[in-house]
Amino acid sequence: MKIKILLGVSSVFMLVALYMVFIFAPDTESGVVQRIFYFHIPLAWIAFLAFFVVFGSSIMYLWKRDKKWDAIASSSAEVGLVFTTLFLLTGSIWAKPEWGVWWTWDSRLTSSLILWLIYIAYFIVRSYISEEGQRARFSSVIGIIGFIDVPIVVITIFLWRTTHPRIEAMDPRVTATLMVSIAAFTALYLLLFAQRIAMKQDEDKLNKLKAFLRR
C-alpha cells in the first residue's frame, strides 16, 4: 500500500519535473547541457541524505541490535550508491562540453569519488561475510566510520584545489524547477528504499521457511 502511494507520488512528480526541466526552465548561456544540472544536484543531495540514513541506522543497529536497522542501513546504502554513481556520471557528461574533459581532479569530483569508493567497500565487505549478525555489525561500523570521514575528506580536498561551479543568484523559474526535481528524486529515493526493505523482509521470511522445511 505504502509502496503504491510512493509509486504514484514519484511518477507524478517525475513527469512534472521532466516538463519543467525541458520546457519550463529558461535557457542559459551554456545551452541545453546546463539542464542536466536539474538531475545532477537532486541526485547528489539525495545520495548524501541516503548515506546519512545509513549512518543513523548503523548507530541504531549497534545500540538496539534489531535486524530491522541493518535492513534499513543496507537498503539506503544501495540506493545511495546508485545515486552517487548517477551523479558522478551526469557530472561527467556535463563536464565534457563545459570543461572539455570527462574528468578533472577538482575538489567535489574527487571527494565524490572517494565517497563512492567508501560505499563500494561497504558492499564488498558485506559480500564477504556469511554470518548475519556479524555482517550487520561490521557494516554498521563501516557505515559510521565512512560517514564521519566524508566531511574531513571534503574539507581537505577543498583546501587542496577547487574549480567546481558555485550556485549563484538564480532565475525563479530555475529555482522552481530545481525544487520540483529535488522533490521528485526524494520521492524516488523513498520508493526504492521502501521497495528494497520490503524485499529484504520477504527474503528473510523465505529463509525462515527454508530452514523450517529442512528440519
Partner: protein, 223 residues
Amino acid sequence: MKTLNKALVIAWKDILSETRTKEIISSVLIFAILVIVIFNFAFSGSQQTMISLAPGILWVTFAFAGVLSLNRAFIQEKDDDCLEGLMVCPVSRETIYLGKMLGSLFFMLFIEAIVLPVFALLFNVNVISLPLITITVLTTIGFVAVGTLFSALAVNTKAREMVLPILFFPIVTPIIISAVSASGLALGGESWGSITYWLGIIAAFDVIFLVVSYLVFSFVIEE
C-alpha cells in the same frame, strides 16, 4: 592510567613476539625498499623533478607498507587462536584496541625510521628534518588508528587481507593528501607557518578516528 598500563602490556607482547619471529618488520622493510626501487624505475629524472616527486613516492611507500604490516597485526592472533586468549583476559575490548594500536604504531615508526634515511640516501633528497619527522609521526598515528580497527574487521571476513586496503585507502585519503602537501612544503624549504595548517588537519583526523575507533572496536571483535 591503569588502562594505559594494560594496553602497554599487550603492545609489549606484540613487540616481544616480533623480536622472536621478525615476521612483520623484516618483510615490510624489504617491501618498502622494493617500492622505492620500483618508483626509481618509474620516474627517473633530474634532481629537481625528484624533489617534487619525493613526497608522493614517500607517502605511497608508507601507505602500502602500512597496509602490509597492519594486516599482520590480527592475522597472527586469529591463526593461533590468540584473539580468544586476549578476549578472555580481564581487560576491556577498548584496552585491546589501544594495545594493538600501540604495537602497530611502534612497528610502523620503526620501519619508517629505517626507510627515511634509505630514501634520503637513494634519492639524495633531504627528508630527515624536524618538520618531516613530525608529519610522519602524526600521519602514522592516523594510519594505525584506522588500520587497527579495520585490520580486526578484515581478519574476520572470508577474503581477509583483501579487505583491509579496500577499506583503509578511501578512509585515510584526507591524511595522505595532507601529508603529501605538507611534505612538499617542508622539502621546498617553507616555514612552519604553512605546514602547521596541514598538520592541524592531520592532528584533527588522528583525534577523531582514535576516539571513534576506540568506541566501536568492541563491536568488531565481539563473538
